[in-house]
Amino acid sequence: EKLFHNRDHSDMQSLTSRQAAVITDKYTAELFLSRYGFMEPVNWEEIQPSESQAFLSALKEFQKVSGLPVTGVLDEATKVAMNKPRCGVPDKETVSSLAIPMTPSEEVQRR
């Protein structure tokens, strides 16, 4: 049982140290933006100039829909917005969000 002292468990202390990784830099922001559909997942080995453009436009779009000043800069307000509690469903429909969870091997067999 998780430790608590208040009747309504409001002071429940998490015995585990599982904390969501805080979004603090471009790398974690890029993960966030691709996870929620603002940009396609990034292939880290070969960064193309156009991909940093993709990141910029994805960041601006996130700022816009979040009601933030559209600066295109990963500023504090944007980081705070990215770290808020939220639903795990992507904001933008990507093909992957519709896919039935499949193990890669299944896919190969199918083709």
């Binding site: 998490s14 509690p85 896919a99």
Partner: protein
């Protein structure tokens, strides 16, 4: 998507991708279950099930969908499965991230997962993350709604700390109704209930509320807000003590300079209602014992009736039965001369062919619209008023204007599954 739809249709025939947009279920009653191995460790199981039941009910209150908790059927037959987990959970390929950020997600196959590392709380805890709010949001996804970036929408992706009046707003209701249609159905009766109240200064003010009744439950309709009261429908016996619990045929309010009496009619009997004490009279101030026979108090009127209303213009109660109308003169305590008559003769159609032709469900004088409406099935006909006739002399007395749909005039009067009626 086509390939995917074909794939899905093979595995779960009852689900299609919906012809008007996003994902949709093709049936109106959906089963849900909180998976046994997915209980939260923070709330009791009863709390979790109650909150989820309430979340599903909230979607029922604004759409034709009904949800029933099913703890017995084979899992394959359960449409929506919910569970709590942390990190890697319930065979899902999207790990939860621990406390913070992602608190839940939903898959379009109908699975909803909650991250048990978040501090979920009950509806009125005032702290933590409201499980009710998150559940309503995720159910919205399963029903086919995407994230909506509108302030006030329940489908916003980010969690907003507790708002006292957490309810679905007009746009959310329209969004779900775009997928599943509006709520339609017959009513037993519709009426405005008049009350006299005293202000703090001792003045008497007259208030009224509009009520729709269907079988054993009712809705209070808030005309100002174009919707029913939050949390309705409610069982009849909770709000109208003493009237038949399975519904009535008609409500009549006789209100004139000399009289002020409210009656409910059912079958061959009727009751008088004591508005002050909010219960039916067993004996009224005139010494009548209730229920009474309709034939005893309204000689000449054949019961059971379809419906009835009191017309303040001529102080007659109009009783409807099949294709006949019985106008009863209260002062003379007898049927008015020449009645009963065919409904077409008393309420002629303004447009030929556009007429309910008897067997109507409800006759309702609305103080909000200052008009009489005849309801039948999902339609209503408004009776021509005196103002209309001043403007268009050709309109017949008590003519029926062309019909309209009830759900386009009074919004979101939706059933809920009987198992959630008493929530």
């Amino acid at each position: 998507k086509r390939h995917l739809a074909a794939l899905l249709s093979k595995s779960r025939p009852k689900r299609d991708l919906g012809e008007n947009g996003y994902m949709a279920f093709s049936k109106k009653e959906l089963k849900w279950r909180l998976i046994g191995e997915g209980y939260s460790s923070q709330l009791t199981i009863e709390e979790q099930r109650y909150i989820l039941k309430l979340a599903f009910r909230m979607w029922s209150e604004v759409s034709p969908l009904e949800f029933v908790e099913d703890t017995r059927s084979p899992l394959e037959d359960v449409d929506i499965k919910l569970g709590f987990g942390t990190g890697r959970h319930l065979g899902c390929n999207q790990r939860f991230d621990g406390t913070g950020q992602e608190f839940a997600h939903a898959w379009f196959l109908g699975d909803i997962h909650f991250d048990d590392d978040e501090h979920f709380t009950g509806p009125n805890a005032g702290s933590g993350i409201s499980l009710l709010k998150v559940a309503v949001h995720e159910i919205g996804h399963v029903l086919g709604l995407p994230h909506i970036y509108r302030p006030g929408s329940i489908m916003q992706p980010n969690y907003l700390p507790h708002e006292s009046g957490f309810e679905m707003d007009w746009m959310d209701r329209k969004a779900i109704q775009r997928l599943y249609g509006a709520c339609k159905g017959q009513f037993n009766t519709v009426f405005d209930w008049i009350r006299k109240e005293k202000t703090p200064y001792g003045e008497t003010v007259i208030r009224f509320n509009t009520y729709f009744m269907r079988d054993g439950w009712y809705w209070l309709y808030e005309n100002r807000n174009n919707r029913t009261r939050y949390g309705d429908p409610v069982p009849l016996q909770i709000g109208w003590r003493g009237i038949p619990v399975d519904g009535v045929d008609a409500h009549v309010h006789v209100w004139s300079r000399k009289r002020d009496a409210v009656y409910f009619f059912k079958g061959t009997q009727f009751w008088r209602y004591d508005s002050k004490n909010d219960v039916v009279f067993t004996q009224d101030p005139e010494g009548h014992h209730y229920p009474r026979l309709i034939s005893e108090a309204f000689p000449g009127v054949s019961s059971p009736i379809d419906t009835a209303f009191y017309d303040r213009r001529d102080s007659h109660i109009y009783f409807f039965k099949n294709t006949l109308v019985y106008a009863f003169d209260i002062e003379a305590n007898s049927l008015a001369k020449g009645f009963p008559k065919n409904i077409r003769d008393v309420f002629p159609p303004v447009v030929n062919g556009d007429h309910p032709d008897g067997n109507i469900d409800a006759a309702y004088f609305s103080y909000t619209h200052n008009a009489i409406f005849l309801l039948k099935g999902t339609r209503f006909w408004q009776v021509v008023g005196s103002r209309d006739r001043w403007r268009w002399l050709f309109l017949p007395h008590n003519g029926l204007l062309p019909h309209k749909e009830v759900d386009q005039h009074w919004f979101d009067i939706c059933n809920v599954h009987p198992t959630t009626l008493k929530l």
